[in-house]
């Protein structure tokens, strides 16, 4: 299965990047310690200036390495999401997304029924609740999900199904990345 090959390759890539990052951090910390020692002993020497340059490069390398690793991990996850949706694990993906949105148990049930295409009256009847309650719950769900209404709510998961999911999983907080 080509999806499996791709996944294995990605896992190897994150391992390699992480190993590289750890070694680089070790070197950076040891060099920073040495440079500080030299700075106290003999700041003007060629040795010190050279070593300070190397150390600065190492520290920059750590920053870039961390950034590259995070990007790889996020791409891997986006791909996994697309893949598991395709493999029929949509319900699980929805459940995790509901957790992310901090829906209560009642809201989770109502949200799931709404995604299945039941209207307010049907949901109310099924749950033995008043229609006003269900309507209020749906409003809260849409607010937590940051969507305008039922159509956008459903579209949120359809987008995952179509497998374009390179954007972060939570649309409400784009500023985080």
């Amino acid at each position: 299965m080509s999806g499996g090959d791709l996944r294995a390759a990605r896992i190897r890539q994150t391992r390699a990047l992480a190993g590289f990052l750890v070694v680089q951090t070790l070197a950076a910390v040891f060099f920073v310690g040495d440079v500080i020692g030299d700075l106290i002993a003999d700041p003007g020497s060629v040795h010190f200036i050279f070593e300070a340059l190397v150390t600065a490069a190492l520290v920059l390398g750590v920053a870039f390495g961390a950034f590259a690793l995070r990007r790889t991990i996020e791409m891997m996850r986006a791909q996994e999401t697309a893949l598991s949706v395709a493999q029929g694990e949509l319900a699980q993906v929805i459940g995790e997304q509901f957790t992310d949105w901090r829906l209560t148990q009642a809201e989770r049930d109502v949200g799931m029924l709404a995604l299945k295409g039941l209207d307010v009256a049907e949901i109310a009847e099924l749950r033995g609740a008043a229609q006003g309650t269900v309507r209020a719950q749906l409003t809260r769900i849409y607010a937590k999900a940051g969507v305008s209404g039922r159509a956008q709510f459903a579209a949120f998961f359809v987008e995952d199904l179509l497998g374009e999911g390179v954007r972060p999983a939570t649309p409400v907080a784009p500023a985080a990345t």
């Binding site: 992480a18 910390v29 310690g33 957790t99």
Partner: protein
């Protein structure tokens, strides 16, 4: 519609409860490497090797690097590894312990609030241990410590005279105090680690989900 209703409710009911997770299925490699690397360093330095020796200081510096890396990762890492995913909230931590006793656990996408507080306590103690260790060694790198230890072993005591001169008497008092704090913090961290491991076990049982597996390599596909 009426015929299909019961099926969809049943599906909704089962789908809504068990598959939402708490914590990631597998922690990313940086979290795992820093965790087990630091755990090994603590085990060696607090129990197995000789305080102040070359091995002790080298391992201590490796621990510092791993701690620094985890700190960077707390800002630059993926969502569940970032500090914003598990802020230190003592009140929420107490509430979580209460919920644990009642068996009414909420799910979190990173550490639970009590675990988060423990993580910060462990990291703070580690930082204290490392800072006091640096004070005691005058910030000397493991390479320098190794050189000096080798020189002393070869019978050249002059390196000790030199280090004594930079310290002077005021520095000596500070170093002694640092040593006291260093040892006390090392004892304290062992106690906290026991609590930490007990916490992982209790939480795993309450959730019915092995929390250790995501910190190791297993548990990928449930």
């Amino acid at each position: 519609m009426a015929a299909s209703l019961p099926r969809s409710t049943a599906a909704a009911a089962t789908a809504a409860t068990p598959d939402s997770e708490s914590g990631p299925r597998l922690w990313d490699p940086v979290v795992r490497v820093s965790h087990w690397g630091i755990a090994l360093v603590v085990l060696f330095n607090a129990v197995l090797d000789q305080g102040g020796g070359t091995l002790h200081v080298t391992l201590g510096w490796i621990g510092m690097a791993l701690l620094a890396l985890r700190f960077i990762w707390g800002f630059a890492g993926p969502a569940e590894a970032r500090f914003t995913a598990f802020p230190p909230r003592p009140v929420a931590a107490l509430a979580h312990l209460g919920a644990l006793r009642r068996g009414a656990l909420r799910r979190y996408r990173s550490h639970n609030p009590a675990g988060a507080l423990m993580a910060y306590a462990l990291w703070a103690l580690l930082a204290l241990i490392m800072a006091t260790g640096l004070i005691m060694t005058g910030g000397r790198t493991p390479m320098r410590v190794a050189e000096e230890n080798a020189a002393v072993a070869a019978g050249d005591w002059s390196v000790l005279v030199k280090t004594g001169k930079t310290g002077e008497d005021a520095g000596k008092g500070l170093k002694k105090a640092a040593g006291e704090v260093h040892e006390m913090a090392a004892d304290l961290i062992l106690i906290l680690v026991l609590l930490h491991v007990a916490g992982v076990a209790v939480e795993s049982r309450a959730l019915g989900r092995n929390l250790l597996a995501p910190m190791l390599a297993g548990g990928r596909r449930q």
